[in-house]
């Protein structure tokens, strides 16, 4: 069953230079106990999408222009801020790339954790401390009683990220949003954090939205993947579909530009030429046209609609039009397609 449904979400920032259309017309859902990955280059609207879900878009200059965000049927977009505060941290937990942005440097970890519990659940201080210690243990922090008395700077990067996860989970949220939670961490620490998130999903049935630019990370944790480009979802499908039968040239580009550790031959990487579109003046047609080796005339003037490939898999590309030339991920080489 769908826990979260995002429908036609558009969020913009109104700057002196004009309207930055960070997210335009994004729709997806997250089922209970499901982990969904969002991938794409920086600036493509991943963070703004989840900040919109949390209603953390600074206004001004930002504004959710349009759309609905339903959490267990309740529309968050129209919820008064006061109600929203009850949802943040309680029903939706969030972890960021840099834990220091959400930890208060002058308060002990214990104080910060108990405040969350007192605020959301109205329980007493001792009970709250007990629960906080339990959660620190759960995320693999030993000596929790001593750790609760320490300040954020006394923790290493990986440990701070664990504290953040413990804090995000304190009230047993149904949905955990993780925005590049391991990007700043070393791989051995990343492996620890990912293992922890996998456990949460499997044992506590927490739903997860994981934002990352590392395709390897989503391959292991997520059952579905959303590929964003230029503020839009260009392709979405099961992890199997996205890796084994990708249909959008941008997804192809992402997959071909990263080397695989297990590749035995040293094949040349295929970069995506150029850079992402300017969201101040988004292109009229397909946002990827300027960088797409398969672009056709129509791509420059008309945005492609979604084609449903199966129940879960859809992509927005003119190549999926019945009359378009047949081009596949591994089929035609890039040069042939261009000429």
């Amino acid at each position: 069953m769908a826990l979260l449904e995002v429908e036609n979400l558009s969020t913009s920032f109104y700057t002196y230079a004009g309207e930055v259309q960070s997210v335009s017309g994004v729709s997806f859902h997250v089922d209970e106990g499901e982990a969904v990955g969002i991938v794409g280059e920086s600036g493509c609207g991943k963070s703004v999408t989840v900040q919109s879900i949390m209603r953390l878009i600074p206004n001004p200059p930002g504004k959710i222009k349009n759309g609905q965000i339903r959490l267990a049927g309740r529309d968050l977009v129209r919820l008064p801020e006061k109600e929203m505060q009850k949802i943040r941290g309680k029903e939706i937990g969030m972890i960021f790339q840099d834990p220091m942005t959400s930890l208060n440097p002058v308060l002990t970890i214990g104080r910060q954790m108990t405040e969350v519990l007192q605020h959301h659940e109205g329980i007493g201080k001792n009970e709250a401390l007990g629960r906080a210690a339990k959660y620190l243990t759960m995320v693999g922090i030993s000596n929790p009683e001593r750790r609760l008395k320490q300040y954020p700077h006394e923790f290493s990067g990986g440990m701070r990220q664990r504290v953040m996860i413990a804090m995000a989970l304190l009230c047993n949220p149904k949905l955990l949003i993780a925005d590049e939670p391991t990007t700043a961490l070393d791989v051995t620490i990343q492996a620890q954090i990912l293992e922890l998130m996998k456990d949460l999903k499997d044992k506590v049935n927490t739903s997860i939205i994981l934002i990352t630019h590392d395709l390897g990370v989503v391959a292991g944790l997520c059952s579905r993947i959303i590929v964003m480009y230029g503020g839009k979802i260009v392709e979405m499908g099961s992890t199997q579909d996205i890796f084994k039968d990708p249909r959008h040239p941008y997804t192809w580009g992402l997959l071909k530009s990263v080397p695989r550790l297990d590749a035995s031959k040293r094949s040349k990487l295929v970069p995506i030429v150029g850079s992402p579109p300017d969201l101040l003046n988004p292109p009229k047609g397909c946002g990827f046209a300027a960088r797409c080796p398969h672009a056709m005339k129509i791509c420059e003037t008309q945005p492609p609609a979604y084609t449903d490939l199966n129940e879960k898999h859809r992509a927005a590309c003119w190549l999926l039009h019945p009359d378009a030339p047949k081009v596949t991920f591994n089929g035609i080489d890039e040069k042939e397609a261009r000429s």
Binding site: V187, T188, A219, T239, F243, P259, S264
Partner: protein
């Protein structure tokens, strides 16, 4: 790639003293690099990997003599660079260049791109007048930019373009060896591929030698002929890239490789991970014996007592572990 050794590093040590007030009795120091040795051949790329803080940048900076070594030597084309006079060092500086992770921080924001590249030419009196201008244009084109970019300032460029400018500046003096310190870590994946392909092409065309420092093992394996794995300032394993992946012998290398996600769900779901406990110990007080023993799943008593030396396990595959 030839057999000529262009750089030979022997027992290189770099410690940073910690100033804890002048009345402090203890002479504490950061053990950033603790006796590393390796050889680099003409035209080769040697990858240097390891988790943050393990001394990769310090090693690179000491080898190019941005830092003085605490002890040990770095022989560049046969001469120990720490024995060279300032004047002799100038010529070596031409032959050894460095590019950095954050190209923006290393580019003077008040200089045009043309002058940034031109400055390198001026310092070494390599070209002046029209020749200088032509050389700048040529370098810009070599790195995939064009002559119009010469009059612009660094802030007008994207991250990937700035890295290209940094590379053009390094190339200006016709170096033999380039130390690349995380040159792609700050870039998006699609842009990383652009820069890596360019570095590979430049190596082919100009016969460059690279010491390629990074923490992304997938990319390091892609670009390097051989890889050295560092842990707390020591090299624990060194061999060819493919051999390192196929037959990792040091427990740390094994854990590191198993932690790297592979972009393929079929592979990921079947893999078993060696998840290491805890983090890297402080380089101020490294453990006795084998530095890795506090996290090593195979540690034994002797690991706390004696330091394992790098041993050749055949075909130049060097490993520092008591178990091999």
């Amino acid at each position: 790639m030839s057999n000529e050794v262009i750089l030979e590093v022997n027992n290189l040590v770099k410690h940073f003293p910690i100033n804890e007030g002048f009345l402090s009795r203890e002479n504490k120091k950061v053990h950033a690099v603790n006796g590393i040795s390796f050889k680099l051949h003409q035209g080769e790329t040697l990858g240097l990997v390891g988790e943050s803080g393990c001394g990769k940048s310090t090693a690179g900076r000491t080898i190019i003599r941005l830092y003085e070594a605490t002890s040990g030597e770095a022989k560049f084309m046969g001469r120990n660079i720490y024995d060279l006079s300032k004047k002799e060092m100038m010529t070596v500086r031409r032959d050894m260049q460095m590019i950095f992770q954050d190209p923006y921080a290393s580019l003077n924001p008040r200089m045009t791109v043309g002058d940034i590249i031109g400055e390198a030419l001026d310092i070494h009196h390599l070209a002046s007048g029209q020749k200088r201008t032509n050389r700048i244009y040529e370098l810009l084109e070599t790195v995939g930019l064009n002559s119009e970019h010469a009059n612009r300032f660094p802030h007008e460029f994207s991250g990937g373009q700035r890295q290209r400018i940094g590379i053009a500046r390094a190339l200006a003096v016709n170096p033999k060896l380039i130390i690349c310190d995380e040159p792609i870590s700050a870039l998006d994946v699609s842009i990383q591929a652009q820069i890596v392909n360019m570095l590979e092409e430049l190596q082919e065309q100009l016969g460059l030698t690279y010491l390629f420092i990074a923490h992304d093992l997938s990319m390091v394996k892609h670009i390097s002929h051989r890889i050295a794995v560092m842990y707390l300032g020591r090299i624990v394993e060194i061999t060819t890239s493919q051999d390192l992946y196929d037959h990792p012998m040091h427990p740390y290398t094994q854990a590191l490789l198993s932690a790297i996600p592979i972009p393929d769900p079929d592979v990921e779901l079947k893999r078993s991970r060696i998840v290491l406990e805890g983090g890297v110990p402080s380089p101020i007080d490294p453990p006795s014996g084998c530095y890795f023993r506090t996290r090593c799943p195979k540690a034994q008593q002797q690991c706390a007592q004696t330091t394992p030396e790098l041993k050749d396990c055949g075909n130049g595959h060097l490993v520092a572990c008591h178990l091999v």
